[in-house]
Structures are given as structure tokens and as C-alpha cells.
Symmetry: C2
Subunit: 656 residues, 2 copies
């Protein structure tokens, strides 16, 4: 009975609460984190609620008042100051003084006698005083008790009903039926780059002029180029020694020519494994120099972590029990029967008794820590869904305990629930199905899921427009216009997005009939001409600039779709009221034919009538003008103008 | 690491799991209870899953295999045999033998050499044997080990791949990575009457001929009438002594005449309180006789429990600390400022220190137990949302521990989340907004919420068409047709539904402008003529008969809406595949004008093409015929035929 009574106030429907508190939500340090819940007491009691939060491990608990929204829903928020794990929970209580005040106001308005009410109000103050801890608050209550224990009803009511008393009682009054939600929930506050970043992917070995094997020194030469385009993260495919046994030839053949460089995903040779550097790229000192130089250009480095080994990986001899062996004594190659991948073997995660293969797990953890200590905090993980989930939960926690700023990007092009599970387990970012969502219906449905459903609290997609493995059919046939369209979508719909090099010059030659690049850089060094005619570097520079300049771009979940009266035009807004930043987008989805279409300017989102005027800046060309009324027309064209971006400046809004 | 590793298989998205397991779901003893979950392992491992269940407090755990549906979703079910609380949880594991079998089959199909695979299969069997407990299973595995440890690859593969081996390994094979969901969940198995019942409400004092004060003996005379109409539960408004102080007069006036009988909700007089009987109704022996006679007519009695007291309630003198007192020494009347209800006072649920007012809570518990011991298991609770939630959770648990068959019906016409919270806390049934949902859009939206959203697992609405307090505007102006329409909707959309007497003779005279009955039976004895012209007793008998005869009516959640091409016609189905029971309904929503409309016969639900034929029985008139093709027309008419009910008999389906 006592136990139950401690939950007098119902607190339920907490958002976010991931799987009953099993997993942490995600937010960004220094940006507000919002919590909503249904909170109510019996009958028509006046209640109040607050959000409690503290840094994991700290006993300094902060309290933020919650605000009533509608239909028993309350909202509170706090701003986690640091890149760390935080806990939060909710409390609710009956504010009997507030209830008394409302009832008494009604009785006064109805002309009823309130002698008894005056005494009741006085007693509520005295009761609060009796329960207050020693201190300023109690002293203030004591004064109020004295001020209201005599005098006429009018005098007492005047004091009890005034705003100052309300403020004091709200702050210091007794919390009747105080109830704390039964679970403490978790939220991890990331560095902003985990939620808002533009990635540029390259093969360091292609960084040199011509087809000479590139080095980290060559990559340093390329940094100004990547910086100029406006990217935040420079992402390298694996940089480790490449195996020789069963090495793949160009275009993924099984018959390599002498001199073929092999796939960097076949990791490990006599030169070392996952903590070594492919000798032709340079030394660890060269790598350190590159990381430092990148930092100087405002770029963070991301490494590609592929947990598989070439048959030449030193661990196979050093730790045979980290691998699976077949009854005939041969090592188990990766396979997808009847296919067999003979340049790759998999690791063994569990022992025969079902317990973790701890030395291997620890070796992987130490590998991440090794690179973190060399200045790398971004890890794009190859195929994490083929490794056990508990392994990832453990490794990510271990790395994060030492490097809370580590960012893990899950490359799991897999089933939707698996993709989400990896995000719950701790991955900060996730590859997504964006790469294959092209129509208005597909984009609207998928983006609505990502930005509105529960997964928005724990899964942050990184919208890659292409990857070395994926040359999307859409891009193969849509040329420069198609590349500009997909770039605009990725950069303006995504908090995180990425391009693999070659995209800026619209490289899309496929292996016919496949979603793969011809002469894939995975198997050979490419000699890129990034100034090739028809490049779209201006678009990249422009879009990355818009992302950085406009605060509305920083919150992935503020996306709203609006009507554009044409199925080939996607219209959406990114509106951030707190920073007074409002962007409206029109993207043509058809790379082959333009559209002249009508659209509704969402004046209603600013509380404006349909005939209002609003100031607008064309965010692409910079010019300012005024739009009158709700109905407008626009022409988009695949060659000239496949997208338009408008900065809306509602009355009272800031203008630069 | 070890702890994490114990959750190798992901088990999430369990349905039902109410508020992270905080509350029990509801089901019906003797009927299957279905559980679904997302269950998956890393990569493409072959996995299996099972549902574990046991009666609360028992250590006999049952296991039911789960079946894979689609998209990582699995389903299992069990049938709780008794009216009791059950626990359930889920387990999942890797079936490495199944994985081996699939891979080997692919290799065989591709013509690959499978020598090593034969040895691997053999070792998987031997490994299972090593981990099996002593017994028949282990012996069978032992034989299989011997049968496969020699011979040619063909011979070994032949044995290892056969169905018998698969069955044995499925049953007895080692469960790799066995994972148990982290929470044990609860489901309460009710008597079926909690989920499927038709209620008839009356004031016992109006049971006599004329305006004489009725007695329980008079009620016994009325039982055949209620039985003949096909009801399951006979529900009485409060039967306790009625207070005299501030008694209300007819039509809720404050100026009673001598001889006015007062509201039975003003409970308590010198003759007793909540465990006493109003002397004019009879004695406790008369009541026992009535309960027994009702049982003889296939009826259960429901009592109306209103936790408030008249100013004459004996507890006020006996237990002054069970009430709230004002500073001037007067008792606190119920009020909704500036209104004051001077015939009713409220109870006090908490002491000054915030702890429960235990003696009062216990008295209420004992009051429920008193009536249960007098054969009453159905309690319609008046305004439960104005009493503390922890109190209900405690009381219902206490009563249910002794009388698991107790059914609590929450009369909480309140905000939606409060209504649902009461259901989560233990109420078996709930009044709902059905009473005010009249249009096609309203009914479709509300019924979809109730039957498809999470609340279907814990909230069972009881669709009252009217109550002594609610004379819906729709009925006031729609006459006999309106009453037949609302009856048909309640009886065929609801698992539970109810009518308050007078409905069968379409009594709907209002206090003008209000949703209240004129000459409300709450304040006077009514002399009902239930044979009055224009009665709808035939409809009631028919609909209650259809409810009882057709298994599809017993599962509230099997509702499906179909297109009827007219906004004034609601078309829906109740399809129960397990019992081969399929009903299709058309209800006219306009009580003033008929409709001739087209509708689609949902042949697709039986896997039939659009041009198929299907046998049909008109469930209202009994005749059998055949419908050809998907498109049909029907005429409904307010006077002659406001609703139609079709029994569909698909090919192979049963026919009576």
C-alpha cells in the first residue's frame, strides 16, 4: 500500500524512453534535449512536474520545471553541457495551493463568501512552512504565515492571492503526493559532429598525380581541396597492409595481374594488421602529420574499420583461436553459399562454451584506442551487422569511456530492425536506405520515419549519395542533373551526409547492369581529374556553406514537408524558431525534364494569414525580395536550376 | 562482457508489453493469447524462438515454439487454462544445425564437394549430444552420432539431411547463444464475461407494477424478461440506504417533496452504508435469493459502487478521519467551484503525512469482498478517476487475490489518458466515448484506435448506448430508427455493451437542451411500460442471439472496416478464422433517410478472385443464397431495415 501510494501522480508515455530504458537516447552537448511525458493526478487536481537530470556518476541533480502542453502532455528540456552520458527522470506532484487559488478565484468571481477559504489558504502556507527545510525559503514562508494569520478576510485574501505569494508557493510550497518516475533514463550527449557533418570519402592511395601509389604526404596536398568544398570529415578506406594470398584483380576478378594493388578490405600481411599502415602509404609518423594537417584545415579524419582478415593477417599465426577452422584443418573463409570469399576470413567471437572470446574483443577495443590516440575519433565500421550485437555494445562502451568524442558510423545496409538495433547499441551514425529513395513518395515516407518516429532519438542517418560499392542506378542514367539533385537532397535533408570522390565530377560509369562502378577504385588506383568539365563543385561548396550558415540545418528532426503541386518536385522546410532560422526547399526529382509548378508558401507556420507578405532571400543567389500571399509558382529545370533554397524572414525575424 | 554476451539474440518490440512491463495485459482464460516480437541474430544466422509462460507463483514453465512471420517478426501463443495471473517471456537462440543444413543444401545444389560439410554436420550432432541432459533426447542424439561417424559422404549426408534428423535436432539440438528477454511480463486471464457481455441496467426500486417502491422480490419477477432479451449481466444502480439530509427532489431539484425517494448515489443513512441494503428493497436474504434466481436465469448481477457518502452515512460518526473537514468544523462537500454538491461528501484517501488512510482503504476492500461473498462479481465503479490511482491498484489486486473472477467496470467519462490508466491499473472494462461517436469518420477512427492500438491489450470498452445520466442528443431526435441503429452498432462493434432500461421502448424525452432524461429515474420511481408501441425488443433479442451464436463476435479486436460507397453507411467485418466464423455488417448511420449504395464484398480476405461466388446467410432473416462477384448493391432504410448482417460461408467453410 505504501509502495503503491508513492506513485500517486501518473507519469507515463515518456518520450524518449528507448525500450523501457534499456538503451540511451542521443543528443548533442550544448544543445537542448527535450523530454515529454503524460503526467496527471486523479480528478482535477492542480499538478506540477519537473525534469531531473545529472551527469552519469555525479550526485549533483538538476531540476528543470516542465510546462503543460495539452491533453495531459508535459514538456521539459535541459542542455547537457558536456560530451558525456547523462541520466534523467521525471517527478510530479500536487500543488494544493494552486488548486486552492483557482477554486477561491472562482468563488470570489461568483460572489461567494470566502472566510473559510482565507483560513484554508493560510493553513496551506503554514503546512508548507512546516515541511520546508531550514533556509531562505522557510523564512519567506514563515513571514507569509505571519502576514496571513490575522486581519480581515479581504486583507488575508489579498495577500494570499497575489502574484508574489503564488511565486513563493510555487517555488517553496509543499509537494503533495510527490512521485518520481520508476526508471532513470539515459541520454548520451555527443559532440555536434556526430549529428551534423559532411563527409568526403577517398582512397589515400589515389591521392597522387597520375597512377603512382599515393602516400599520406600526397593526401596532405589534397586537404585544401576538401576544405574548400566545405566538408567536415575526410574519410579514408582502410589504410592497413593488404594481403597477397587470393588477392583480387581489377574489377573484382580472381586473376590479379602482377602489380595489382588489391582490395584494402583484405586486411593484413606480413607488414601487420589492423594497427599497421600499408607501407606504400607511409609511416605512422606520416599519418600523425596528416591528422594534424587535416585539423589545421578544419577537417577530422575518419577511418574505415573492417573486422575481417586476409589469409596473411599476422593474427592468424599469433592467435589461431581468434578464427574459425574447418574439420579438415583449413581456415573458414567468409562465404554466402554457394559463394566463397577467398581473400577474407572472419574472426571468432565466442568460445565453444558460449562465452566471449575475450582476448580478441580486447584486441579490437585496443585497436580503436590506438587510432583514437593517434587523433582519429571517427570510425566508419564495415558490415557491423555480421558481428555479434553484444560485442558492439561492449566495444563502443569501452572506447567511449576513454574517448567520449568517438563517433561510430554503422555501415549496415541490412534489414530495418537490425539497422536500428545497432544504433540503439551505441552507433552514433548509420548508413541508411536514402541512397535508394528517389521518388517523392519514397523520400517523404522514409524521411518522415527517420525524423518523426521513435528512431529519431537514437538513429542518426548519414546520407551517402554514393560509395565505392554503390553506384546507384539513378545516377548511372541521370548525368550532371541527377548528381546535383541527389547532392541537394542529401545535403539539405540530412544532418549527416557523405559523398565518395568522383561524385563531384559526376563519375557514374557502371559495370553494365550492376549497381557497381566500372574500374572500381577498390581494386585499382584511379587517376582522378577533379577539374573535369561538368563538375559540380560549385554546388557542393554552396550547399555545404548553406549548411554551416543556417542554424535550422543543425537539427535533423525539424524537417517538414509541404505541398508542391507536382509529383516531380519535393518541397520541404527546416524551421528553427529558437534561432529564428527558416529555410524552404524545392528540389526537382526528375533529372530529365523541368517543371513549372504551383506551391503554397507556408505562411500559416508563422501565424500569418493567406494574404500576408513575407521577406525572402534566395539562398542560392543571395538576392532579397518580398513574396505576397500564399500561392506561388516556380520553374525548376534539370540543367539550370534543379533546386531552389529560400531563406524566409517572417515579420520580426532577424535579417543579416 | 559476460553479461552482455548473454543477450546475443536481439529480442525487442514485444507486443504486448505495457509500459515496459509495469502493467499486465489482459486475455481470456481458455482462449489463445498471442505474443509477437522482433527476434534476430547477427548476420544471416538461423535462429529459433519460443514463448515461455507460467502461472504466477508456479515454477512449472511451459514452452511454446514461435513462428517466423516477416521482417524479423515472430509470433507465439498460449492458452491460459485458468482465470488467474500468468507470466510470460521470450527466448531465442541460434540453431547452428539448421544453418549448416541450409548452407549444405545450397552447396549440394551447386554441385560442390561436401566432404567437410558431412563431418561438420556430424560434429554438430555430437556437440548437441555433449550438451544434452541425460534422457531420451540424449540417447537419440547418441544414436545419430553413431550413425554418422562413418560411411561415405553420401551416406552421412543422406542421414544428416533427412527430415527425421531435422526434427530431432530441432527438438534436442544445442541452443547456441540462448538469450532470454530481460523482463518477465504479465497477463491476467479473465473469465470470458469480462471481455464479452451484454449488460442491462435498472433501478431495482422501479421493478414493481405502478409507482410502488419495488423490492428485490419484484426484481426476481423481472428476470425472465431480461433473460428473454438475451442479456448476460443485470446491473443495479446503488442498493444502499439513501441519505435524508439535503436529499434531491425530482429532476435534480434542491427542494424535495415529502415522499421523494432521493438519489441512490447519496449513499448512507441511519440504516447503514455501503454494505447495507435500502430497507424498502428488502433484506440481505432477499438479495441472496435474487442473486441465486438470476443465476438460474443465466444472469450475473452487477452492483454500482459509488465511493461517496450522504451526510447521514454512519461512517461519518464512526470514522471522522475518513472524511475531509473544513477549518470551521464543517464537513467538506463535493464541489466543482462555484458548484457545491450538498447531498454528497467525499472520502479522505491520504493522511497529512502523505501515507494512505489505510483503515478506509481496507474498509473499501472489505466492502467489495462482502458483496463478492454474496455472489456479486461485477462492480460498476462510479467516477473512479476522481479517486487516487494507487488506491485502485491496491483495492483491485486485493479483491482479485481472493476473487479472480471479479470484474471491475470503470465509469470514467474523462480524459483519454486517465481512462486508459485506470484500465492499466486493473479495471477489466471501461466506459468509453462510443456513446458520442455517431458519424462514419468518428466510428471508424475510434474503433480503429480501440481495436488496433496498444490499448487493445489492456482496455476493454463497454459500449453503453445510454445511461441514467446520458440521454444522447442523437437519440433524442432520431426516434425508433436511431435507437435501432445505436443498438446494432453497440452490440456488433463491442465485445461488451450495455443498455439502460427504457432504451427498449425508445424512451428519450430530455430535459430540453440537455443530454439528460426528463423525470430522471435517479430521483424518482418510474412506472415503465416495456410493451409500449414502437419497442425494439425484437432487435435486442436478435442481436444478442447473433452475438452468442457466432464465434467471430467473441474477439473484440478482429474488427475490420470495409468500403461502403456512402458516407451514411458503415460496413465492417468480424472474421474469426480459427472457428471459421465470418460476419459482415452494414449499418445505416442516418436515422432520417435511407440509402441505396454499392459495396465491395471482401472476397480478397478469403483469397478469392473478384469474380468468385460465395455462399451467404442473412443472419437477420435466416435465408441462404449465393453472392456472385465483388460488386454489390444494398438498400438500407431507417424504418424497415437500418442494418444488415451477413454470415459469409467461404468455400470449405462450415455451414450449419
Amino acid at each position: 500500500m505504501q509502495v503503491l501510494a508513492a506513485s500517486r501522480i501518473c507519469i507515463e508515455g515518456i518520450d524518449p524512453e528507448i525500450d523501457g530504458g534499456r538503451f540511451a537516447a542521443k543528443c548533442v552537448a550544448g544543445r537542448p534535449f527535450t523530454v515529454r511525458a503524460d503526467i496527471f493526478g486523479e480528478g482535477h487536481d492542480s499538478i506540477r512536474a519537473a525534469l531531473l537530470w545529472w551527469r552519469q556518476g555525479s550526485d549533483e541533480i538538476h531540476e528543470e520545471p516542465m510546462e503543460f502542453l495539452v491533453n495531459d502532455r508535459w514538456e521539459g528540456r535541459f542542455t547537457p553541457p558536456e560530451n558525456a552520458l547523462y541520466r534523467y527522470t521525471l517527478i510530479g506532484w500536487k500543488d494544493d495551493f494552486l488548486g486552492w487559488r483557482k477554486d477561491t478565484a472562482k468563488k470570489i468571481a461568483a460572489g461567494l463568501d470566502v472566510d473559510v477559504e482565507a483560513e484554508m489558504g493560510h493553513r496551506l502556507v503554514a503546512n508548507s512552512r512546516d515541511h520546508a527545510p531550514e533556509g531562505e525559503g522557510r523564512a519567506a514562508l514563515e513571514s507569509l504565515v505571519h502576514a496571513t494569520n490575522h486581519g480581515s478576510t479581504e486583507e488575508r485574501i489579498e495577500i494570499l492571492m497575489n502574484e508574489e505569494t503564488l511565486a513563493l508557493m510555487t517555488r517553496e510550497g509543499r509537494r503533495y503526493g510527490l512521485t518520481r518516475y520508476e526508471r532513470d533514463l539515459a541520454v548520451f550527449a555527443d559532440r555536434e559532429i556526430a549529428a551534423f557533418s559532411a563527409w568526403y570519402e577517398m582512397f589515400p592511395r589515389s591521392a597522387a598525380e597520375g597512377t603512382r601509389h599515393g602516400t599520406f604526404r600526397d593526401v596532405i596536398e589534397r586537404l585544401p581541396y576538401v576544405q574548400d568544398l566545405g566538408f567536415d570529415v575526410l574519410y579514408f578506406t582502410p589504410i592497413h597492409p593488404i594481403g597477397r594470398t587470393n588477392r583480387k584483380g581489377r574489377n573484382n576478378t580472381l586473376t590479379p595481374e602482377p602489380g595489382d594493388v588489391g582490395s584494402p578490405y583484405a586486411i593484413g600481411s606480413e607488414d601487420g594488421g589492423h594497427t599497421a599502415i600499408h607501407p606504400e602509404l607511409g609511416t605512422i609518423e606520416d599519418f600523425d602529420a596528416l591528422v594534424a594537417a587535416a585539423r589545421g584545415h578544419g577537417l577530422e579524419i575518419a577511418l574505415d574499420i573492417a573486422l575481417n582478415a586476409s589469409p596473411d593477417h599476422p593474427w592468424i599465426k599469433e592467435h589461431p583461436d581468434w578464427f574459425e577452422w574447418r574439420p579438415d584443418g583449413s581456415i573458414a573463409y567468409a562465404e554466402n553459399p554457394p559463394k566463397k570469399y577467398e581473400d577474407i576470413v572472419n574472426f571468432r567471437y565466442y568460445l565453444e562454451d558460449g562465452s566471449p572470446n575475450a582476448p580478441y574483443w580486447e584486441a579490437v577495443r585496443d585497436m580503436f584506442l590506438y587510432w583514437a590516440e593517434h587523433g582519429v575519433l571517427n570510425f566508419r565500421v564495415d558490415n557491423p551487422h555480421t558481428k555479434p550485437f553484444p560485442f558492439w555494445e561492449w566495444v563502443i562502451d569501452e572506447v567511449r569511456a576513454r574517448h567520449p568524442g568517438a563517433v561510430f558510423l554503422s555501415e549496415a545496409f541490412t534489414r530495418p530492425k537490425m539497422m536500428k538495433r545497432l544504433a540503439k547499441l551505441g552507433y552514433n551514425q548509420s548508413y541508411s536506405y536514402f541512397t535508394w529513395r528517389n521518388t517523392k513518395a519514397e523520400l517523404t515516407e522514409y524521411l518522415s520515419e527517420l525524423t518523426q518516429q521513435e528512431c529519431r532519438h537514437y538513429m542518426r542517418p548519414n546520407f551517402f549519395v554514393n560509395t565505392p560499392d554503390i553506384n546507384p542506378y539513378f545516377l548511372q542514367t541521370s548525368g550532371r542533373a541527377g548528381h546535383r539533385i541527389r547532392l541537394a537532397l542529401a545535403a539539405t535533408l540530412g544532418g549527416n551526409y557523405g559523398v565518395y570522390n568522383g561524385y563531384e565530377i559526376c563519375e557514374a560509369a557502371p559495370i553494365p547492369g550492376k549497381e557497381e562502378y566500372l574500374d572500381s577504385e577498390k581494386y585499382e588506383i584511379r587517376d582522378w581529374d577533379f577539374d573535369r568539365e561538368g563538375h559540380i563543385k560549385d554546388d557542393i561548396r554552396l550547399l555545404n556553406g548553406i549548411r554551416r550558415r543556417h542554424a535550422a540545418m543543425r537539427d535533423f528532426t525539424n524537417l517538414e514537408f509541404f505541398d508542391a503541386h507536382d509529383d516531380a518536385v519535393l518541397c520541404y522546410g527546416r524551421f528553427d524558431r529558437a534561432s529564428d532560422s527558416y529555410l524552404l526547399f524545392h528540389v526537382l526529382l526528375d533529372p530529365h525534364a523541368g517543371r513549372d509548378f504551383a506551391f503554397d508558401l507556408p505562411l500559416w507556420r508563422f501565424g500569418l494569414p493567406d494574404e500576408a507578405s513575407i521577406e525572402v532571400q534566395d539562398a542560392v543567389h543571395g538576392n532579397h525580395f518580398t513574396w505576397h500571399g500564399k500561392e506561388h509558382r516556380l520553374t525548376l529545370d534539370p540543367e539550370d536550376r534543379p533546386y531552389a533554397i529560400w531563406r524566409l524572414i517572417p515579420p520580426g525575424g532577424a535579417r543579416d
